[in-house]
Amino acid sequence: MTNGLIHRRDLLKAGSIGLIAGSATPVMAREPWMTGPGQPMSGSGESSRYVSLAREQVGAHAFGPGAGSSSSPLQHLNGTITPSRLHFERHHSGIPDIDPDKHRLTVHGAVRQPLRFSYADLLRYPQETHLYFLECSGNSYRNTLAEPQNQTAGELNGLVSGSEWTGIPLHYLLDEAGVTADAEWIVAEGADAAGLTRSVPLSRALDNVLVALYQNGEPLQPAQGFPVRLFVPGCEGNISVKWLQTIKVQAKPGYTRDETSKYTDLLQDGQAEMFTLQMEVKSVITSPSGRMRLPEHGVYDVSGIAWSGAGTIAKVEVSADGGKNWVTAALQSDARPLALTRFRIPWHWQGQSAVLLSRAFDDRGNIQPTREAALARYSSAVIYHYNGYQSWRVGKSGEVSNVYV
């Protein structure tokens, strides 16, 4: 009925698949790593030499070394935290090598008292810790192209990552400077060569925005904004300005290049939407996924990530027949607002051809749209805010590839 997807209520019936006879006399296994002490302790850890993990789709602008992006290898990761070194990147003029002792954060504009903070100052402020996703608004844009690209889950959708972010609630610094009554926006500026600058509505800035200093427990990596970045939960990654050096409070937005020329969404009639900051409800099956091969018939743990910039993931459904029938997947117990949520569902593959896909629902009533519906929102040239289905075809010999349904 559901092409091999196993409902939770049927899990007991499915049971386990095979039994292997054990040997009667116990023998002490003697692999080389069991018969002598291993490597000594060390100052810093690294992955097993049998594990190779790297960001994918590392690419730059033809005329701008350092202007480009790289993606998290979603298909090799599990859980909801992306290791910091594998967090996606999007830079507009490379990664600056900032000396934290020389870095300053200035708060000025529509405030009673302009203030300047050193990195050492910032470290002394009370901080908060939250799990949040961060997604580039250009994530998954390859699925807006006319032909499905035969790429991995990471190459197609890896401009999203999940981390534990620790930082100072921005309103602590704004309160200290004393925002004046006419203020409606903040404009944040980076200290990189691009001086990337974006505007955030003051209401949001006073709500849950962080001046982030730590990612996954350690000081930010340079590629993620060391020494300090803005972090705007649930919103397009570009406004979480890295290498944050200025916050200017204003009555109006800055209308900077990156919120006019870029990161605006053209409609079919030639008008364009501006300040579409919140990211949509979305999900991606990360395993099995593009360019993998199922080695044999049997039961597979279909698993992926879901997120919504509006709230908490409430439900994820999975289909194995291209969207005709849907079965509710199990969410990991701690679905949190504005964070990656992992879903899983067992699937019995017996060689049947199948198209696996997922759709997410959040607690605000938003439902991930079909590819067709997602594309219909904007002009065909728009590469931002695509949240349509990601579908994977499983061929007769187990090969998995990107497909449009």
Binding site: D121, Y255, A272, E273, S380
Partner: protein, 179 residues
């Protein structure tokens, strides 16, 4: 119970210490995390380089379109083309294309404000040597990029007074989404 005066002195000192410590360990839940170190260093008169669209905080200076042409051809054309036509890095062209099958977004076809062009070039261009242009040069080259886009009514010399008044063709092309 009887204590020696030495013992009394000990307990007394301990008591003093306890009372001295209590106010320092401010109870987090009684005032939330409201207690901040207040380390911001007060600044007098900080202008910054984030340019407002009304042009009110543009830097002093001016530059002619003619000077901008020379600058553009030496400092910009290699990456953007002599007329701003370099595919993948266009600065000009595309007027009227936004609702068609191949929209081309450039300064002339898409950007709503001329002040944004000044702000961006000043901070981010030329890409191989950012922040090397002084305000006069930025006014000049901003003028020339606008000239390449055929902006009507473009003054021959741009400055802090007239830049914000330049009417960009697609000024009315945006819908601002509210939160």
């Amino acid at each position: 119970m009887f204590m020696s005066s030495r013992e009394q002195g000990y307990w007394w000192r301990l008591l003093v210490w306890v009372f001295a410590l209590v106010p320092a360990l401010v109870q987090a839940d009684s005032i939330g995390h409201g207690l901040k170190p207040g380390l911001g260093e007060p600044l007098t008169e900080f202008k910054g380089t984030i340019i407002s669209v009304d042009g009110s905080n543009l830097p002093e200076g001016s530059g002619s379109v003619a000077a901008g042409k020379v600058l553009y051809e030496t400092r910009c054309a290699a990456c953007h083309g002599m007329k701003g036509e370099q595919p993948g890095n266009q600065l000009a062209g595309g007027r009227g294309s936004l609702s068609g099958p191949r929209p081309l977004k450039t300064v002339g076809s898409y950007w709503p404000y001329a002040t944004t062009l000044f702000d961006y070039i000043w901070r981010a261009m030329p890409y191989d040597e950012q922040k090397s242009l002084d305000p006069d040069q930025v006014y000049a080259v901003t003028g020339y990029v606008l000239r390449l886009n055929g902006i009507v009514g473009l003054p021959e010399v741009l400055n802090a007074k007239n830049l914000a008044g330049i009417k960009m063709p697609n000024r009315g092309g945006f819908v601002e989404m509210s939160e």
